[in-house]
């Protein structure tokens, strides 16, 4: 049960864009992480300020309803922490599934008015009823707040099931700090998968950012396939960006750089999706449908960007049918390579129309080095070689088509 602070103190802008907005984003993230980590998890949200504590949504596992409930909230009033927590306890007590463990996530942004003794009493009552408490302390700090919240945590904590995170204001984004904190990871390994995807895209957008114990926020022991796939995608991305930067440095036009950067952000999102497909080797049938839809989506979005991109988008769709015969495992690999190359092709043609990036990816040695680092793929395997060969000839077809269109 998430207790949200929507008091007047939330208008302040020391977290971008406002404290309230940062809090809402963080709550969205938490709800997403919890519902994803276990399909039986349910999350509810209540607000503490305004006229009084009000339950916005009772515990549910439907993320859409939660997001809808968070929409259109207003800031105002004073936070009533003790009654808010009591209402949360009541909401948890009347949950449908009694086997679920009870947990309250408290966002404490305004100063804490209650006494330390009152808070400790509240904490003991929570412990007695087996309710865990996570506290996110941000916003106002009047000196006593930290002490009071720590006392509350000590009263509730039973075998390290409760946590507290202090987030001072400044440049750091509330949600990013939360992702790497124990509130997300202390939940068990399930939460880290969602956090990894969020962390990967956050890290790509803010170069060199993203904290976490492991390289990509994913423990290689728990999910080696995902960790490996993330690493491969990062290498590909790095190589592509290097090539893009080289190209724009040569031409030295500001326009080229802008296009490269703007397309890198959606590319990361796309490559994340592509990776999900590669790691999911068991769902061959579904992948066909997914990637077909994705091809269409990519084609549509690229068509809005540039004319030349439309031709490139149409090209790979036809070459796709030739991929069907490539064989079991390699199919997924081929799709992933196809999609990442296609975006690269689109980005390249949107910027300058040169095929440098395609050459990088078409480069046999680079691709085979990438492939050899993947488990279960032997670059000397005849199937893989066929795929590579056909990819290269398709690239040739692509360029021919593009030039044909231009000459018309």
């Amino acid at each position: 049960m998430v207790c949200m602070d929507n008091s007047e103190w939330m208008r302040n802008g020391d977290y971008s864009p406002t404290r309230f907005q940062a809090q809402a984003d963080a709550i969205n993230l938490i709800c997403g992480a919890k519902t994803q980590s276990n399909p039986e998890n349910t999350v509810g949200v209540l607000t503490m300020a305004g006229k009084g504590p009000r339950v916005l949504i009772t515990p549910t596992n439907d993320l859409g309803k939660i997001l809808q409930a968070l929409h259109g909230l207003e800031v105002g009033g004073e936070m009533r922490m003790t009654s808010g927590v009591q209402v949360a306890q009541l909401a948890l007590k009347h949950r449908q599934n009694k086997h679920q463990r009870q947990r309250i996530v408290l966002f404490a942004g305004s100063p804490v008015l209650a006494d330390k003794a009152v808070l400790e009493g509240m904490g003991k009552k929570l412990k007695k009823n087996n309710v865990a408490l996570d506290i996110v302390s941000f916003g106002e700090d009047d000196g006593e707040k930290v002490e009071k919240l720590e006392a509350l945590l000590n009263a509730v904590n039973n075998g390290d099931n409760s946590h507290i995170v202090h987030i001072p204001g400044g440049e750091r984004v509330l949600s990013d700090v939360l992702i790497s904190s124990s509130i997300f990871t202390g939940d068990g390994e399930g939460g880290s998968g969602f956090a990894a995807a969020a962390a990967a895209s956050a890290a790509a957008a803010a170069v060199g950012g993203g904290g976490g114990a492991y390289d990509f926020g994913v423990d290689p022991n728990l999910d080696p396939e995902l960790a490996l796939a993330l690493r491969v995608s990062m290498e590909e991305e790095r190589a592509r960006q290097e090539a893009a930067m080289k190209r724009s440095a040569e031409d030295s036009t500001a326009k080229g750089q802008q296009a490269g950067e703007s397309s890198s952000a959606p590319d990361v999102a796309m490559s994340d999706v592509g990776l999900v497909d590669t790691t999911d080797k068991s769902k061959d049938m579904m992948i066909d449908d997914d990637t077909a839809l994705l091809q269409q989506a990519i084609a549509m979005s690229m068509a809005q960007a540039a004319q030349a991109a439309a031709a490139a988008g149409g090209g790979p769709a036809t070459t796709d049918t030739s991929m069907e015969e490539s064989g079991g495992d390699d199919q997924d690999l081929a799709y992933a390579l196809q999609m990442s190359m296609q975006q690269a092709a689109a980005a390249a043609s949107a910027a300058q129309g040169s095929a440098d990036v395609n050459q990088v990816l078409g480069d046999q040695s680079f691709v085979s080095s990438v492939l050899s680092s993947l488990p279960g793929v032997d670059p000397n395997d005849p199937n893989v070689r066929d795929v590579l060969a056909s990819l290269q000839t398709d690239e040739g077809k692509n360029d021919d088509q593009a030039t044909k269109d231009k000459s018309k």
Partner: protein
């Protein structure tokens, strides 16, 4: 030397057979509220012979003598009597209140509702005393909730053994007892501890 409330000497007659309802307890579903160590409630259900073994303990949190123990059964049972071995030096519970077939008892509800039956307990270190139930009310029990509201003056309540005497009826109350349908595979629930070898 211990003597039961029955008119015979325990060492000659096998009492253990009577107190075997602990086998019908769904031990994974046993929970307690206000326990210091999570999961310690499961340890107090053991064979009759081990009732004086004080190593297993269900302790309440310091400064708070209340305890609630929720006991689900695998089949419907009929409970004839209950034996509770408490701690020494006033750590023993002094009262016991029982609720049947409810899974939502917490401290506020326990104090509001009238229990099916209430007992005044005595300090019972050697497990000699048993508390009979109103048998007519304890037929068809799928889950038993015991609430110990007070003890004999110590800070915390310790319970070492809870024994139940009665019969199991082989009937299940719910059609499906406790199933979790997996909507999505969850890697943390599928850790393999052994290697499988197949012989063809």
């Amino acid at each position: 030397m211990g003597s039961c409330l029955h008119q015979h000497d325990c060492e000659e007659y096998e009492c253990a057979g009577d107190w075997s309802l602990y086998k019908n307890i769904d031990i994974t579903g046993v929970t307690a509220l206000n326990e210091t160590v999570e999961g310690s409630a499961k340890s107090v259900f053991k064979p009759w012979e081990q009732r004086s073994d004080l190593s297993t303990v269900l302790a309440s949190n310091d400064d708070d003598a209340e305890l609630i123990v929720f006991i689900p059964f695998t089949t419907d049972v009929k409970i004839k009597s209950i034996c509770v071995v408490g701690g020494v030096d006033g750590h023993s519970p002094s009262k016991m209140r029982a609720f049947l077939n409810r899974d939502d008892i917490d401290f506020s509800q326990a104090n509001d509702l009238t229990p099916v039956q209430e007992w005044e307990l005595a300090e019972n270190i050697r497990g000699e005393l048993e508390y009979p139930t109103k048998y007519a009310k304890f037929q068809g029990v799928a889950s038993l909730t015991l609430h110990f509201p007070s003890n004999f003056g110590a800070d915390a309540t310790h319970v070492h053994y809870i024994g139940l005497r009665g019969e199991a009826t082989q009937m299940k109350r719910d059609a499906i007892a406790n199933t979790v349908y997996e909507a999505m595979p969850n890697p943390s629930e599928h850790k393999y501890t052994k290697l499988f070898t197949c012989l063809i």
